[in-house]
Amino acid sequence: MDASERPFLDLTGVTVSYGSTRVLEGIDLGIGKGEFVALLGASGCGKTTLLRTIAGFIVPDAGTVSVGGHDVTRLPPDRRGMALMFQSYALWPHMTVAQNIGYGLKLRRQSRADIARRVGEIAAMLGLQGLEARKPASLSGGQRQRVALGRSLAVDPEILLLDEPLSNLDARIRLSLRHEIRTLQQRMGITAVHVTHDREEAMVMADSIVILDKGRIAQRGTPEEVYNRPASAFVAAFMGAENVLTLSGSASGEGFAIAPGPFNAGCLVPDLLPTGGVEVRFRAEAGTLGPADAPPPEDGRTLRLAGHVVSTSYPGGIWRHAVRLGEGAADGATVLVDAPHPVAQGQAVSVLLPPDTFFVFPAAGDAPPPASDSRSGDRRRRLEVQQA
């Protein structure tokens, strides 16, 4: 995308309220032509509202939506060159598969022969041949969602909007449809905006992920960026870094020095943070378990925690250990750490977190964090982990 050029689908300052409740707060979002963007967030974060605003079912209180440089903020849904796919499929139960797919073309007054040809193409593309005369009620969930996709694609939309279209499907069908939608989108060069609360789905399908939190964009980046370089504690938690520790340290020349504490050794991180409390987050698979008397790491950049195993479980492939840090300390915490072999319950262990596998943020309340309004959510999450 050329930086000097306006993005193909461009949202500026989009604000939406339901009554007195602000749902979206000044959303600025540019999406390039042919890009696949996933809107990711917990339920109630405003992601569906944002999609419906793009689609034209909601007129924003403030801000504009433009497509290809034209302001479409107040245009009706059908004049925007967009097709929307619904979570509930929203197929017309009284029409056959062919009628469902062809309805948009019928509305565009195409000839019967043209409609039949296009429906045939779409059915072939989506593997729906032989089902054209069936009604939706006699199709499986995966087939229904394919028909819904076909109905959207039949009218050659420039932009495809997907409102959690896969969340009602079985896990296996979901995996194959993810791949199918992505392949079709790339082949047809359609710009796609996909709403989901499934992190993995967003990761595998999208070129770019937009994480929403309470009506604001918490971070936007490639899947790799948001996973490995979360911009805030909220994003880190949402991307699976559920283990949380509250430590303290001081700014030093090269970055930030975490001070030794009741259950952790000191270490240096490259983040530029003000002196004071910090929140450290990491994923269960980030750490390695070692014997309690293992020698401290020599690089000075690995975070070493001490604790004992309180329980183990086997979610598949690896063993997951709940490790209680800080023996008997009031400010101790329980973290989840994966290991290839089980460690006996009650065993004293050390948890080693190599550089770049843990994320450090200013502690909530100590310094203004990037997403200040996500504090209470973080506290809640921290409590959940501590109680785990």
Binding site: A55, F57, P76, P77, D78, R79, M82, A83, L84, F86, Q87, S88, Y89, A90, L91, W92, P93, H94, M95, Y103, G104, L107, R108, A148, R151, V155
Partner: protein, 281 residues
């Protein structure tokens, strides 16, 4: 056939009161009335014959047709208005207008037929409220005022009274269809009218048909409205039945006319049962 075990007997015993009620208050009177239609003096097998039926058709064939046309026409109009009201409640974009309509449209349901007849009698008469208003507004001259107290009055009364009931059913069904199906059509560019008739109505067709059938049968049995609004010939079968009994004590022809009404109602009831069967399967 399995023998009657005590358990089976108990089951039979439990259902007996309900069964007795149905037999006593429904099947017996209905059968008596049907048989009554064929009872004549000195007829075949101790008093059976077709005299009453022949007389009923001789005297009232025109009224039979009149009844069928009036009730069918009313049913069609009720369906149209119900779709209109339900459609506006579902697709209307002015929240205030939708709220007002939602509040208003049900009122006629709570007004008895006899009151409807009376209200419309004063409203639709030659110098009634409607013509008076039109004259006052300068739309028509007093000379042009005509009374609508004939078949048109009956149709208006029926539609006025029964539309809310069917609209209530239809609007409820429309409210429960997946909004996504409406939005998907809008997203593809369908106008509201097309959405109503191509997306919404087909999805509530069964409910609409059931409402129409129930209205049809209800209107078949209304006596007060034709009596108050259309005191002339041709008129509806209910009026004729009342007349045969009150004026002549002629239960035979009255029963024959009742049988004809019953057959008309059975025709639509058959459709209703078929739909119910299809829904269950």
């Amino acid at each position: 056939m399995p023998s009657l075990t005590p358990q089976r007997l108990l089951g039979l015993f439990l259902v007996l009161p309900a069964l007795a009620m149905v037999v006593l208050f429904f099947i017996v009177p209905l059968s008596a009335s049907v048989i009554g239609a064929f009872e004549v003096e000195g007829g075949f097998m101790g008093g059976l014959g077709l005299d009453n039926i022949i007389k009923a058709f001789d005297f009232y064939a025109q009224d039979m047709l009149f009844t069928l046309v009036i009730v069918s026409l009313s049913t069609l109009l009720i369906a149209l208005f119900s779709i209109g009201i339900g459609g506006y409640l579902t697709l209307g974009e002015n929240p205030r207008a939708v709220a007002i309509l939602r509040w208003l449209y049900r009122w006629p349901m709570f007004i008895p037929f006899i009151v409807v007849g009376q209200v419309l009698r004063t409203f639709l008469a030659k110098n009634g409220l409607m013509n008076g208003t039109f004259v006052a507004m300068g739309l028509i001259t007093p000379m042009q005022a005509t009374s609508l107290l004939d078949w048109r009055g009956i149709v208006i009364a029926f539609v006025w009274k029964q539309t809310p009931f069917v609209a209530l059913l239809v609007a409820g069904a429309m409210a429960s269809i997946d909004r996504g199906t409406i939005e998907a059509a809008r997203n593809l560019g369908a106008s509201r009218l097309r959405i109503l008739f191509e997306i919404v109505v087909p999805q509530v067709a069964t409910t609409l048909l059931v409402g129409m059938i129930l209205s049809f049968v209800t209107m078949m049995s209304v006596l007060s409205v034709p009596l108050m609004i259309n005191a002339q010939s041709p008129t509806m079968l209910t009026t004729d039945i009342a007349f045969r009994i009150n004026a002549y004590g002629d239960y035979g022809v009255a029963n024959a006319l009742g049988l004809v009404s019953l057959l008309m109602a059975s025709g639509v009831a058959l459709v209703y049962l078929r739909i119910a069967m299809r829904e269950r399967s």
